[in-house]
Amino acid sequence: MNLELLGITVLWTFLYGYLIVASIDFGAGFFAYYGKITKKDSIINGLISRYLSPVWEVTNVFFVFFFVGIVGFFPSTAYYFGTALLIPGSIAIILLAIRGSFYAFGNYGSRGSTVYLFLYGATGLLIPASLSTTLTISEGGFLRVENDQVVFLAKELFSSPYSWSVVVLSIVSVLFISATFLTYYADRAKDIEARELLRKFALLWSPPTILASLLVFLSLRSHNETHFNKAVGEYWWMFALSLLCFCLASAFIYQKKAYGTAFIMVMLQYFFAFFGYGASHLPYILYPYVTLSEGVTNDSMATALVIAFVLGLLLLVPSLILLMKLFLFDADYVKGKK
C-alpha cells in the first residue's frame, strides 16, 4: 500500500469514527430536548447525560483530527476547500461552538435550562447537515476555477437535489445511529422504560434511513455518473453488505433481543456504506481538481505523519479502552450507581 492510500484510509477511518460517535452525541442531544418538551425527560435524560458527560470532548477531537490530518496529508485540499467553504465552514464552526459550550453550561453550570437544551438539541441536527456539505462539494460541480481563483457556486449547491438528499441522509442517520446505541445503553442499564422509548425511536427512524440512502444513489446518478457507475459496478457488494447489516439490525431491535449485536450491525451497515462510497470516490478527493496522487504531501512529511500516527495510536488506543471500560462497560456506572 503506498503512503497516500494509507493516508486517506487512516483519515477516512477517523471520519467514520467521528460519524459514529458524533451521531450518538448529536442524536442524544435531540432526544434529550424532545424528552424535555414531551415531559419524558425523567425517563431518558439522566441516562443520556451519564453517557455523554465524560466523552463529549473526545467526540470533538475525532473531528479536529480529521481536518488537521487531511490538510497535512493533502495540503491542496486546504486551498480548494478552504476557499470554497468559508461560509458553510464558518457556520459549522459556530454551531459546534454553541453546542459544545452550551453542553457544558447546561450540564455543569445550571441544570435544567430549557433554552440551553434547545440550542444543544437543535444544533445537533444542523451540524451534520452543514458538515455534509463538504462531502457534497467533493463530488464536483460546485466549484469553478477562474484566473487562479476558486469560485464557490453557492446557488448550484442550494438548488441541487443531490446536496439535499445528502442532508436528509445525514440527519436521519444521526437519529437512527443514536437511537440504536441508546437503546443498547439503556438495556445495559436495565432501564426498561428508557429502553422501550428509545427502541421506538430506533424503529421509527429505520425506514427513512434506507429511503434516504436510495435517494442519494438516485441523485448521484444524475450528478456524477462516473462515481455512480464505479459505486454500483465495482463496489456493489459493499452496499449489499451494508443493506444486509441494516436488515439484521432492524430485525434484532424489532424482536427485542441482542441490542448490542444490533448496534454492531448498525456500525457495520455504515462502515460498508461509508467505505464503499469512499473507495468508489477515489482517485479523486475533490472531483476533478484534487486527486490522491497529485494532492499528496511530500514523501518526508508523509513518512513523518505515518510514524507520528502509529506512535499516537499506541498512546490513544489503551486510553480509549480505559475510557470505555470506565463509562461504557462498567455496569454500575451505566446504572447510575457510581
Partner: protein
Amino acid sequence: MELDNVMLSRMLTAMTLMFHIIFATIGVGVPVMISIAEFLGIKRKDPYYLLLARRWARGFTITVAIGVVTGTAIGLQLSLLWPSFMEVAGHVIALPLFMETFAFFFEAIFLGIYLYTWDRFKNRMVHWLLTIPVIIGSSASALFITTVNSFMNMPQGFELKDGKAVNIDPIAAMFNPATPSKVFHVLTSAYMTAAAILAAIAAFAILKGKRSAYEKKALKLTMICTFIFTGLTTVAGDISAKFLAAEQPEKLAAAEWHFETEKNADLILFGTINENNEIKNEIRLPGFLSFLAGSSFDTEVIGLNEFPEDERPPLWVHYMFDLMVMIGFFTLGISGLYLVASKLKQWNELSKPLLLGIAASGPLTMLAIEFGWIYAEVGRQPWILRGYMKVGEAATTGNGVGLTFVLFALLYLILGILCVVVLIRMFRSSPAQAELEKRFPNGTID
C-alpha cells in the same frame, strides 16, 4: 485602513486567537494547580486542599469547553482564511499540527476520566495520578502548537521553488531556533497566569469578608506558585529577548524604538513617538537594551534602519511590549511582598492594599498574555512566513469574510458573557464552607 479580505481575515484571526488564548492559557495552567492542590490534600490529609482541587476542577470544565470549541474554530479558520498559506505550510508543519491533536486527544480522554471518578477509587492517589496525563496532554499541545508559531517566525527545513515547498525536513522545521525560547515562555507564563488568577479569586473572597481557613490556604498556595512561576517567566522573557536580538532583531528594535545600530543602547520605557520617529516623554535607562540583548553594556544591538521600510513591523508594538513586562514585574513584586509579609510577624499579609494588588494581578496577567501575543504576532508583520510569504499574499479570495467576522464577534460576545455568568452562579449556589461540611463531615479526608 481599507477593509479588504486581507484586513478582514487578519481581524477575524486576531479576534478568534485573542478570545481563544484566554481559555487556552487557563487550560494549560489550571491543571497544574489542580494537581498540586490535590496532591497536598492527600499527602497532608487536609480536606481543604482536596476541596480546592475539586472546586477548581468544576470551574475548569466550563473554561475547557470554551477552549475546545474556540480551538476548533481557529484550527479550521487557518484553512478557511489563509488557504494559500496552509497549502504551502501544510507541506512543512503538518507534523506538529497533527501531534497537537494527539496531545489534545490524550488530554480529552483523561480529563473526562478525572472529572467523573472522584469517588471511584479506594486509593486517592490513583485519582491524583490521572492529573499527570492531563498536564502532559495540555502542556504538550501548547508545545506543539507553539512550534508551529515559531516556524512562522523562523521558517526553516524547506526551500521555496515557484511557490511550492520542496526538500522538506519536518523535524528541522519543528525545532527551529525560535522554538525553545517560545515554548519556555508560553508554558511558564500560562502556569503563572493560572496561579495568579486563582490567587486573585482567593484574595477577592477574603476582601469580601470570607476569612476562613479555606480562603487563607488557597491564597497561600496560589501565591507561592505565582511567585515561582513568575520568576521562571522572567527568566524565559530574558532568554526570548536575547534570542530576538540575535535572530529576529527587527522585532526587538520595533519594541524598543531602536533605530541606529549601536553599542550601549538605551532601554525606553513608555513615551510617545511622532511621524519623524522622535521619541518624547520616555523614561530612558541608559545602556540597558544592550544589557537585555546580551548581558553586557557593550553588546551591539541592530537597529530598525537596517531594514527596508516595507519590512518593518509597526512601531506601536512598543506599548504592548512595555505593558507585558510591567505586569510581569508587578506580579513578581506583589507575590514576593506577600511571601515576605507572611514570614514577618509584624507585617500583615492580609492587609487591604496587598489583597487589592493580588486581586488585580489576576486579570492583569491575562492582559499581559494578550499584550505579549499581540507583540509577538504584530512584531513579525508584514510577514506571515518571515522572509518567505507576506500576509497580503496569503488571505482568502472567497466572499463573505465580513459577514463571518460579525457572526464570530457575536458568538464570542455571547460565550464570554455566559461563561462569567455560569461560573459566578455555579460557585454562589454552593459556598465552600457548606460543601466542606457536606463532603467531609468529620473534618478529615477519610
